[in-house]
C-alpha cells in the first residue's frame, strides 16, 4: 500500500525533525527518506528544501548527483551488475547483455511486472571474484550467464 500524500508529508516531517541540529543534514535526510519510502518522492523535495532552508534546485542537484538516490520506486528486487575494468575483463559485458535480454529491460529500468530493477555499478571491491553483482544488497561473485539465470528465476517466480 502506498501511503497518502498527507501521511507521507507527516512522515517526512518526522524524519526532518529527527535530523534537526545535525551539521550538513541534507544527505542523511535523503538516506532516511529513501529508507522509509524506497525512493525520494517528488513531493518530499519542497518539504526538505523548506525545512533545511535551501532551494528546491539545490536538493534536486544533490539527489541527481548520487546514483543511489532514486526518484521513482524500484522493483521488488534490485540487481546491480559491476561494469568496472576487472569485471569487464572477466566477461561482465557479456553477462550484462544477457541480463538485459533475459529481463527485457535496459539499464535503470524495471521489469513491467515490477519484480526487478537492473542497474550498473562501478566496482564492488570484489575484483578477485569478477564478474561481481549485488542483489538486494547481497554481494555475489563469479556471476556468469547460468548463475544469472538462476538468480533471476529465484527473484522472479
Amino acid at each position: 500500500m502506498m501511503p497518502g500524500i498527507a501521511d507521507s508529508a507527516e512522515q517526512i516531517g518526522e524524519i526532518l525533525r529527527a535530523h534537526d541540529g545535525l551539521e550538513g543534514p541534507l544527505i542523511p535526510v535523503l538516506h532516511a527518506v529513501q529508507a522509509a519510502f524506497g525512493y525520494i518522492p517528488g513531493d518530499a523535495l519542497p518539504l526538505i528544501a523548506q525545512h533545511l532552508n535551501v532551494s528546491r534546485a539545490e536538493v534536486h542537484g544533490v539527489i541527481s548527483f548520487y546514483h543511489d538516490f532514486r526518484e521513482e520506486p524500484a522493483g521488488r528486487h534490485i540487481l546491480k551488475l559491476c561494469r568496472a575494468e576487472a569485471c569487464q575483463a572477466m566477461g561482465a559485458d557479456r553477462v550484462a547483455a544477457h541480463a538485459r535480454d533475459a529481463l527485457g529491460i535496459g539499464w535503470h529500468q524495471t521489469t513491467p511486472d515490477g519484480s526487478v530493477t537492473l542497474e550498473p555499478v562501478f566496482c564492488l571491491g570484489l575484483c578477485a571474484c569478477a564478474p561481481a553483482a549485488l542483489v538486494d544488497g547481497r554481494v555475489l561473485g563469479r556471476v556468469d550467464e547460468a548463475r544469472l539465470d538462476a538468480l533471476i528465476a529465484e527473484v522472479r517466480p
Binding site: S55, R56, A57, H60, G61, F65
Partner: protein, 959 residues
C-alpha cells in the same frame, strides 16, 4: 557574455580587499596587487588576459574549465590561475609551449560536444567560447562527436536522449542546453550575486546539466526571479536575451540610469541604430555593482508600447472625446486656460505636481513654473504620499532629509533592522547585496506585519521577526529604546559627544517609563516581549547596526514619529557616522529623493530651505526676476480639497497618476472633476488623464538627458540614447508651456538647468555635468567642503550640530477595527510590477503578476468561507472593490494584504484619507476592512471602467 565596451574588461575574479600589497612578475612585467588577488586578476591588471571560460569577475573562482593554466617558476605542474593566489616574488608565465598545447587540448574537448553553428548562432560575436577557440589557436578537432548533447537525433536518426529542448518559458531569455558548456557561471551567479539559488547542476559527469529548480520545473516555474544575473554570466548562447535572438548583437552602448526604483542602478543601454537591443547592468555603477533586477534589466518594452501617446491631445470638457492637435495648439490652449483661471479665480487657483519619475532638472523646472510663472507655491510631489515623513523626521533629528549611508555600507554591517520594507520585491538589487552580507554572517531583524521573503528564504533566516499589528510601529520602536535605555545598552560616549545630553535625559526618562516596556505594549502590538527584548539587545550590542526602512514606516498617521523613533534608536546606540551603520530610507521611485531635493514641496525651495527665509528667496528672486510668495502653497490633498470647494481650478501634473496612487480614489476623482484645466504630462493616458483637458505626451528615460538622485543621495546621469518619439524631452515640454505663458526661458540643454541648481543650492554647489562625466556619479552634499561628494553623512558631527532626541509618544490611529470592519488591510509591492503599473503592466512582466491578489490568513478565510483563488469583496469605510483571494499564513490572523499595481482593482478606493500628523503622508498601510465572498466586480469598478473607456476616446486627427 562578453562586454561590448572594451574598458569594461573582465578581470576574471573579484577584487581582493586586503590593504597588504604583493608584487610579482607576470610574463616579465612587475605587477603589484592586494594580497589574496588571483594570478588571473593580477595578470589582467598587467594587461594580460589569460584564456578562461568558467571565471568571471562577478563571482568567486571555481577552477573547473582548466583553460587558465599558468606556469609558476619553482612550482610543479600547471595550476589554474583563477584559484591560485599571488605571492610575493612569484614569477608567472602565461604563455609557454606546454601551456599552449594543454589549452588547445582542453578547447578541443569542449568543441567536440558543441554545435559548430557559429554563423547562425545568436551569440555570434558575443561568445566567449568562440573567443577562446580563437585565443588558443584551435585549428583542428581530432574527436569525432558520436554521443553529443547538442544533436536532437543521433547518427542513426533515433532521438538522442541526451538532447534537451530549448526552454523559452521565461518571457525575456531562453535556456538552450545544446549550447551549454557546464561552466556553472549561471549557477554561481544565481547563488552569489542574486542569492536566489534557483539554478543547480543536475546529475554528474557526462550527465551534468544546468537545471532551473527541480526536475519538473521550467525557468518560469522555478524560483527564478528573472534578474538576469545568469544571462549576464553565461559565456555562450545558452542563456540568451530573446531580444538579441530577435534583433542581433548591439553596435554601441550608452551608460545611463534605471528609471524604476530608488536603488538607481547604472545600466548600459545597448543599441543598434536607435533600436534598443538590451539593457545590461553596468559593472562600475556604484549603486548596483553590476547587478540588476527583472524590471531594469528587461521591462523596458513600455517605451515602444502601442498605448503610448505621441501627439498632444485637448478637449473642452472631460466628457468629450480627445482631439489630436499640434504642439502649438495644445500649448496655446493650456496656457490660455491657465491664464484665464488665474484672472478669474486669482493667482493661487492653479498649481503643479512634479514627478519623482522625471529628472532633477525637470522637477526643478516644474516647481520653477509654479513659483516664477504661476507666481505661487502650489507645488507638490508624489513624495507627499511616500517619504515626506522621512524628510521631516530625519530633518528634525539629524538635520538632513536623506539616508545617511551609501549602499556599499551594507558590506560592513553586522546587524540589520529592516522595518516596513520588503527589499526583495521593492528594492531587489539592494536586497541581493544585503542577502550576500547576511550569508556571510550578519544578523537580521525584520519588523513587519507580513512574513516577507527576507524572514526566511534559502540560506537567509532572520534572527528575529517581530510581526507587529499594522499601525503600531511607534510602540514597537519605542519599546526597543526602552530595553536599550533600561538595560543600560546605550552608547554614552557617543551621546555625550554627538548629541544634546539634556534632550537625551529627557528622552531616556520618557522611554524608561514602564508603559513603554515590551511587556506593556505586547497586547497592543502583538509582538512577544521576549523577542522584542532580544532583538533590541542584538541591535544595541551586535556590532555595526544599520536600519533600512520603507513605506511601512512612513505611510501611517504617525509616520514622522516612527522616523524620529528610528533616528533615536540609531543615536542611542551610536550607530551613525561610519561605514556599516546608519539610518537608510529605501526610497520608492527612481528620483523621489531628487524631486524632494529640487524644491517640489510647497513650503521649501530647492535644498530644503523654507520659503519664509528671506535670504533664500532673495537668491531665486534676483535670478528669476520675480517676487516669490513667502507663504507655503498647497499640498496635494489641500489642492484637491480646494478644488472640491471651488477655489482651485487648474493643475499641471507631470508624470504622476494621482488618481490611482493617492488615497481615497473617489475624493481624488471629485477634486479633479471640479477643475477647469487639468494638464496631464505622461507617457500614457493614465487614470488621472480621464479627468484631464490637456494631454502632453511625455518622453521616456531613454529619450532625454538629465540626472536622477537615488536613495543614497547619489546623482546619476541619465543619457539620451534615442530621439524622443513624442518630439520633445519633458524638460522641453515644461519650458514650452512656461514660454506659452510668457516666461521667456531659454534652456537648450539640461546641463544648463543643473548649473542653475548648483548656483542656487549649496548642497549641489559642486555638481556639474562635467564632474558627473569624470566621476560617474556623486553623492550630495557636493560643494567646496566636499568636492567629491559625501558617501557617509554625519561623520564628525550631525548636520544640525548636535543630534536631537525627541519623545515619541504612541498615539493609535483613528482608523480602528470594529464589528463591521474587523480586519486590517495593509498594502505593498511585488517584484515584477512597479507602483501603479503604468510601465510594467505594458511589458511581459505580467506573466508573474497578472492581477492584484488579497492575501488572507487561513483562519480568517475559513470563518468567512473563502477559498483560494475566489473573488472577494474588500470593503472599508471609504469604499469597496473586488479581487481574488490568496490564502496564506504570510499574513497574521486579522491582517490582509494586497498590492496596488492594477487599475481594475483600485486598492485605493478602499484606503482612507487619514494621514501623517506632520506631513499629510496618507495612511495607506492601515485600513479597517471586511472581506466577504463575491461573484464579480463592484458597482464602482463597473462604473469606473465605463467612465475610463469613455474618457479615453480619441477622435481621428483632422485632415
Amino acid at each position: 557574455m562578453k562586454d561590448f565596451i572594451i574598458p569594461d574588461r573582465d578581470f576574471g575574479t573579484p577584487a581582493a580587499k586586503s590593504k597588504v600589497m604583493v608584487t610579482l612578475t607576470v610574463d616579465g612585467f612587475d605587477v603589484t596587487v592586494p594580497e589574496g588577488t588571483s594570478i588571473m586578476r593580477a595578470a589582467a591588471e598587467a594587461g594580460i588576459s589569460v584564456p578562461k571560460l568558467c571565471a568571471t569577475d562577478s563571482i568567486d573562482a571555481f577552477g573547473s574549465c582548466r583553460l587558465c593554466l599558468v606556469e609558476i617558476e619553482g612550482r610543479a605542474g600547471t595550476p589554474a590561475s583563477c584559484t591560485t593566489p599571488v605571492a610575493a616574488g612569484m614569477k608567472v608565465r602565461t604563455q609557454t609551449a606546454r601551456l599552449k598545447t594543454l589549452r588547445r587540448g582542453v578547447m578541443e574537448l569542449y568543441i567536440s560536444d558543441h554545435p559548430l553553428d557559429c554563423l547562425t548562432c545568436s551569440a555570434n560575436g558575443d561568445c566567449e567560447l568562440q573567443d577562446m577557440a580563437g585565443a588558443v589557436g584551435l585549428r583542428d578537432v581530432r574527436y569525432e562527436a558520436v554521443d553529443t548533447h547538442f544533436r536532437a537525433k543521433d547518427n542513426s536518426g533515433q532521438a538522442n536522449p541526451q538532447w534537451m529542448p530549448k526552454d523559452d518559458s521565461n518571457p525575456y531569455f531562453t535556456y538552450d542546453p545544446a549550447k551549454c558548456i557546464v561552466c556553472s557561471r549561471c549557477v554561481r551567479a544565481c547563488e552569489e550575486v542574486q542569492g536566489t539559488f534557483a539554478l543547480t547542476i543536475q546529475g554528474r559527469g557526462w550527465d551534468s546539466r544546468v537545471s532551473f529548480g527541480a526536475k519538473t520545473d521550467t525557468a518560469l516555474t522555478s524560483d527564478c526571479v528573472s534578474c538576469g544575473a545568469c544571462v549576464q554570466a553565461c559565456p555562450t548562447a545558452t542563456l540568451q536575451e530573446k531580444s538579441i535572438i530577435d534583433i542581433g548583437t548591439p553596435e554601441r552602448s550608452v551608460i545611463t540610469t534605471c528609471a524604476y526604483c530608488g536603488v538607481g542602478c547604472s545600466f548600459k543601454a545597448e543599441l543598434r541604430g536607435d533600436e534598443l537591443v538590451r539593457m545590461t547592468p553596468y559593472k562600475h555603477g556604484k549603486a548596483n555593482r553590476g547587478h540588476s533586477c527583472v524590471k531594469g534589466r528587461f521591462a523596458y518594452g513600455y517605451a515602444s508600447h502601442k498605448d503610448r501617446i505621441l501627439n498632444p491631445l485637448i478637449r473642452e470638457s472631460i466628457n468629450d472625446p480627445w482631439r489630436e492637435v499640434s504642439w502649438d495648439e495644445a500649448l496655446g490652449f493650456a496656457a490660455g486656460r491657465m491664464k484665464g483661471i488665474q484672472e478669474k479665480y486669482g493667482r493661487h487657483s492653479v498649481g503643479v505636481i512634479t514627478s519623482s519619475r522625471c529628472t532633477n532638472e525637470e522637477a526643478y523646472l516644474v516647481q520653477k513654473l509654479a513659483r516664477a510663472v504661476f507666481r505661487n507655491n502650489n507645488t507638490d510631489t508624489c513624495a507627499r504620499v511616500c517619504h515626506s515623513p522621512t524628510g521631516y523626521g530625519l530633518g528634525q533629528t539629524f538635520g538632513t532629509s536623506a539616508g545617511t549611508q551609501d549602499f556599499d555600507s551594507v558590506e560592513q554591517t553586522d546587524v540589520v533592522i529592516v522595518i516596513g520594507a520588503n527589499p526583495t520585491d521593492g528594492h531587489p538589487v539592494f536586497a541581493s547585496r544585503l542577502k550576500k552580507r547576511l550569508r556571510k554572517g550578519a544578523k537580521l531583524i525584520v519588523i513587519d506585519p507580513r512574513r516577507i521573503d527576507l524572514v526566511k528564504s534559502p540560506h537567509i533566516k532572520a534572527a528575529h521577526h517581530l510581526p507587529l499589528r499594522p499601525g503600531t510601529n511607534v510602540a514597537v520602536v519605542t519599546a526597543m529604546a526602552h530595553v536599550i535605555v533600561t538595560e543600560g545598552l546605550f552608547d554614552e560616549d557617543f551621546i555625550r559627544t554627538r548629541c544634546d545630553w539634556d534632550e537625551f535625559t529627557d528622552y531616556a526618562e520618557f522611554v524608561a517609563a514602564p508603559n513603554h516596556s515590551p511587556e506593556a505594549t505586547e497586547l497592543l502590538t502583538g509582538v512577544p516581549a521576549k523577542d522584542l527584548r532580544e532583538a533590541a539587545r542584538l541591535y544595541a550590542r551586535g556590532g555595526n547596526g544599520a536600519i533600512y526602512y520603507g513605506l511601512g514606516v512612513t505611510e501611517h498617521s504617525q509616520g514622522s514619529t516612527t522616523v524620529i523613533a528610528i533616528a533615536n534608536l540609531a543615536m542611542l546606540t551610536g550607530n551613525i557616522g561610519r561605514p556599516g551603520v546608519g539610518v537608510n530610507p529605501l526610497r520608492g521611485q527612481n528620483n523621489v529623493q531628487g524631486s524632494c531635493d529640487m524644491g517640489s514641496f510647497p513650503h521649501e525651495l530647492p535644498g530644503y530651505r523654507h520659503v519664509s527665509n528671506d535670504a533664500v528667496r532673495d537668491i531665486f528672486e534676483s535670478l528669476w526676476g520675480v517676487r516669490i510668495d513667502n507663504e507655503p502653497g498647497l499640498r496635494i490633498p489641500n489642492m484637491l480639497d480646494a478644488a472640491v470647494e471651488g477655489t482651485f481650478k487648474g493643475l499641471y501634473c507631470q508624470g504622476e497618476d494621482i488618481l490611482q496612487s493617492d488615497p481615497d480614489t473617489r475624493h481624488v476623482a471629485a477634486g479633479l472633476a471640479a477643475m477647469d484645466c487639468v494638464i496631464v504630462h505622461d507617457l500614457f493616458l493614465n487614470e488621472t488623464a480621464n479627468y484631464a483637458h490637456v494631454f502632453l505626451p511625455g518622453s521616456t528615460f531613454l529619450e532625454k538627458d538629465g540626472t536622477f538622485t537615488n536613495a543614497e543621495r547619489r546623482i546619476n546621469r541619465v543619457r539620451k540614447v534615442m530621439a524622443p518619439r513624442n518630439g520633445y524631452a519633458d524638460w522641453e515640454v515644461t519650458q514650452l508651456l512656461a514660454n506659452a505663458m510668457g516666461a521667456g526661458w531659454t534652456y537648450t540643454h539640461p546641463g544648463q538647468i543643473m548649473d542653475e541648481i548648483a548656483l542656487t543650492t549649496p548642497s549641489f554647489a559642486g555638481v556639474s555635468y562635467e564632474k558627473l562625466e569624470t566621476m560617474g556619479s556623486v553623492q550630495w552634499p557636493c560643494n567646496e567642503k566636499a568636492p567629491e561628494g559625501t558617501p557617509l553623512m554625519h561623520v564628525d558631527g550631525f548636520v544640525r550640530g548636535r543630534g536631537k532626541f525627541i519623545r515619541t509618544e504612541y498615539v493609535a490611529t483613528d482608523e480602528k477595527t470594529g464589528p463591521r470592519f474587523p480586519l486590517l488591510l495593509t498594502t505593498g509591492r511585488i517584484l515584477s510590477q512597479y507602483n501603479v503599473g503604468a510601465q510594467t503592466r505594458r511589458t511581459a512582466n505580467v506573466v508573474w503578476h497578472p492581477e492584484d491578489l488579497l492575501e488572507v490568513h487561513p483562519h480568517d478565510a475559513e470563518v468567512r468561507g473563502i477559498a483560494d483563488g475566489q473573488w472577494v469583496r474588500l470593503a472599508s469605510r471609504s469604499g469597496e472593490t473586488t479581487l481574488r483571494a490568496r490564502i496564506t499564513d504570510r499574513v497574521s490572523p486579522g491582517v490582509v494584504y494586497t498590492t496596488f499595481h492594477h487599475p481594475e482593482t483600485q486598492a485605493n478606493v478602499v484606503t482612507t484619507d487619514y494621514s501623517d500628523w506632520a506631513t499629510n503622508c496618507p495612511e495607506y498601510k492601515v485600513t479597517a476592512v471586511q472581506v466577504a465572498p463575491s461573484n464579480g466586480p463592484s458597482e464602482w469598478q463597473v462604473d469606473y471602467a465605463e467612465q475610463a473607456e469613455r474618457s479615453r476616446r480619441i477622435l481621428p486627427a483632422a485632415e
